[in-house]
Symmetry: C3
Subunit: 409 residues, 3 copies
Amino acid sequence: DGRFSLGLRGLGQFDNAYYDQDDSASRLSSANGGALSSGSNFRRAQLGIQGKLFGDWSYLFNYDFGGSSGNEQQGRVQAVYAQYDGLAPFALRVGAYPPPANIEDGTASGDTIFLERNAPAEIARGIAGSDGRDAITALYTGGKLYAALSLTGGKVADSNTYAGEQRAVLGRVSDLFYSDNDWRLLAGVNGSYVFTPPFTNTVGPNGAHTITFSTSPELTVDDTGTKLVSTGAINAEHAYHWGVEGAAQWRSLYGQAGYFGYGIDRVATGLSNPNFDGWYLQGTWVLTGERRGYSAANGAFTSPKPSVPLSLKGGGWGAWELAARYSDLDLNYHEGQIGSAMPADGVRGGEQKIWTAGINWYPNSLLRFALDYQHVSVDRIGSTAAPVVANTDIGQSFDVISLRTQFGF
Amino acid sequence: DGRFSLGLRGLGQFDNAYYDQDDSASRLSSANGGALSSGSNFRRAQLGIQGKLFGDWSYLFNYDFGGSSGNEQQGRVQAVYAQYDGLAPFALRVGAYPPPANIEDGTASGDTIFLERNAPAEIARGIAGSDGRDAITALYTGGKLYAALSLTGGKVADSNTYAGEQRAVLGRVSDLFYSDNDWRLLAGVNGSYVFTPPFTNTVGPNGAHTITFSTSPELTVDDTGTKLVSTGAINAEHAYHWGVEGAAQWRSLYGQAGYFGYGIDRVATGLSNPNFDGWYLQGTWVLTGERRGYSAANGAFTSPKPSVPLSLKGGGWGAWELAARYSDLDLNYHEGQIGSAMPADGVRGGEQKIWTAGINWYPNSLLRFALDYQHVSVDRIGSTAAPVVANTDIGQSFDVISLRTQFGF
Amino acid sequence: DGRFSLGLRGLGQFDNAYYDQDDSASRLSSANGGALSSGSNFRRAQLGIQGKLFGDWSYLFNYDFGGSSGNEQQGRVQAVYAQYDGLAPFALRVGAYPPPANIEDGTASGDTIFLERNAPAEIARGIAGSDGRDAITALYTGGKLYAALSLTGGKVADSNTYAGEQRAVLGRVSDLFYSDNDWRLLAGVNGSYVFTPPFTNTVGPNGAHTITFSTSPELTVDDTGTKLVSTGAINAEHAYHWGVEGAAQWRSLYGQAGYFGYGIDRVATGLSNPNFDGWYLQGTWVLTGERRGYSAANGAFTSPKPSVPLSLKGGGWGAWELAARYSDLDLNYHEGQIGSAMPADGVRGGEQKIWTAGINWYPNSLLRFALDYQHVSVDRIGSTAAPVVANTDIGQSFDVISLRTQFGF
């Protein structure tokens, strides 16, 4: 009678990549990306069930056997939650899942334009969100207005020796403020605040409890999981981020942009508190005329659905989409000069700029091939005691070609 | 034609807890519970399939992605077995699964009154049973009489360097000896005997092969998985337990009690063989008038099914149940006095007494919220060389508030 | 409309074994099988979904929670792929899966005659194939002719520090060149070539990149996962294998044989390049008259389907099958003499000869019990610095009884 449903979910994302680094990269330590590893990796290999219970409740059990560090990991919780829908458009969700963090985060992992979400949005969602985050979320999904406020804890399998897990709030609001036959305009704000950083130290409840901002170069095939930009572990009292994003669609053209600020309040040391920022701009053009869709449930856009699926007999070719992105993530703070020691309150996290161009082919609504070219530039200064030679340039530029084969339902 | 069936199973149990310890606990080492970690944890996140084949056979594939040590673990076998039902009410089951150990063990993990089974029954089922135990079981499930005899081996993923896995027998018999419209009375006995302890040592086939009795304080949210009472590893020739249990139901009232004795036969040392015991008493009252059910297949009672599910439109509120429990587990043997060295044959495992009061809310037959308050008292003496100060009191008392969100089918 | 399908897959293989070793084996180190561990193990505990999409595409998501090293492992990708069938009988498959390696490999893991595939075929499929291998395969499955050519990479969860994963090609061709009412005759060739060995060293891109040929004694219950024959890690430029196989069926009799050669091209050292070989002969007789089937999709034979399933009421007894095998795997190369140091270019991998006799009982088409007796003989010389005493005989002979309980669909 429609009050109960049960569906199976599967998602496979098989990535292949070739990293083309200069010989000059060999001066760098392995941790700084001296030798990125080409090859293949299942970014996601998921299996799950979802459905409705008694009309008023919904649930999801979703497990992932892929990996985001260049290697497949063993099966683990990606999202398991129960949700009360009896007061729609309000809902209450509890469990472990990616709590709504921003528009880019709301784009489902099968619907992202490129292989990975842009780095600035990735940092923002990582602070108090991302896969397998223990959370309770109040949701409002009213067609145009989307709002979510989450109280979040640690991530699944995080282990904390003392005094409990991270505690944070995370929220986003967005509005599809204009839509007609040709246009859709979406704007949103988001933010997070970490009340209590995770206690992962082993030296006692008064030891360091640190937070690190770092992310991969918008690709995770490299087996070593190298993160070229990273603030390193900072002993933190609190951490936060705020962000603004917008998206615009005109027929089969789509554009999206965002700006994020991040900061850490140090455990009292007399040193100034570091802050960082990042921004991105990305767009697509569906050559075959289809349009990206809009999901009111996620407050974000979805992949185009091909109007004529590939068929060697019938003559269809699916949907073809061109895409481009630029992102700039700056994790430096009072970083000082090459050749000099870092100021006492400095953070040499590095600045990462990435150009990406891509072609997406959707033979049908359940399959996708994504061919991307990236040009990655990292500007970063090593630390005093740092890899190979102190205080030298540990940045690099390189190109990557990658191909994702994706199938999911 | 009913001879084949295939069903999906899902079970999510998301626990949140706050441990309220005295400042005096900080004198204790971390291993003795000096700093229990509040937070959240998926106790169980299961996915499975089950069904019938050719009418005469049944099977279960069930995998768990949650964890019982305060952290979610990676997916693993909880129960995978095949069963021959062609001689019903007799059956033969083979595979890895929790072999029937006692009435409390027979209560399905989604039907337990509190977040965890009581500690004395948990010790009893742990010796030769519990999740993922390799076993072959002869079952008799004749409506009122329930009997199970299992030959059991190691647990899934146990690794044994020498001479093979633990070998043991485990049995239980229970009888629903009286039932009418108002009353149900159930009594049972159980026992286990370990012929060969597991060879987990690395120094050769003649090295120590030890058995440890220990369990969590009837809650497993603490990230460190601390077990406040533990016999420590005892070099064992054999181990055993025996138990008696009873349960009585009158309309929406339910009571259950049990007593268990445990013992270890040492590898010949001239020292006396230690033995231990524990008992529990627990009961519930379903405020909304429903009754706990009885499962002849498990020889144990089940959760009440709400007669009117929660509905903001229709006015139902589901079922509400009050519950209380007291358990006393004594793992001391010739423990001597505080301030003195332990006698040569002593075991300072500690005595744990727990009061629990709880409210269970079943909005519908597939959902449950359980709010529990526990008062835990541990009396335990440290060893000569032991944590912080030798031979001192390493016990403590503390309170815990916990909330489980459970959904399953 | 038949263009879409979705099916669940489950496979459980629960193995019990008793290793009967001579006392003389205790002279051997644990790594050389001084104490093989009897007990039980889930060889496979799989859960998956498979189906068709849009008529032209097929897919498989299959995860394994069992283990091949004597212990169950945590859930991981066994096979996840997408396949394009729009040009049947040609197909293109991409993902991670066991790429077609030889006739024995093509025999599905639920259809193998004994508990494990024969050791010589296992070495051959391990070089560039086996479970969870990243690959792209061009397939031709034309009823009688079967051909597969795969470009393969690393295995799922392999981690490579430098310069990427192994790269290899793997191919097989077989032809069911004669079949009538009584007879089926199948012949095939296969081969693989490793262009680039895996870079698993940690000392830099110019460090060793090694390949090892080793395999278990056609049984994997032993908890220590001991491999009695092994070439050890050889710093390799390339590796390869070639093989020929044939199978013949006459009514309910079945026979199969194969010969394989393997080799490694060393990184230039002035030493000769080692090569090895192995062969096997195996056959079955279905006492109850059924016949092994032939799968054109796999280019290999399948288990017999019982014509009358077991039924205590109806009188059926399922299918019963007798089986025997002999395999000889020689991983020695210029191994020299007992008591003398190994020649500089020698490899003391050992020679393993195994006799196996077995009874398979198929109570119905989804269940199977396999009782096997094996006599294993290993001739092997220890290395100069080797376990216990240098250059002595580290071989042994022993018997094993094993029982597999299998259920799957």
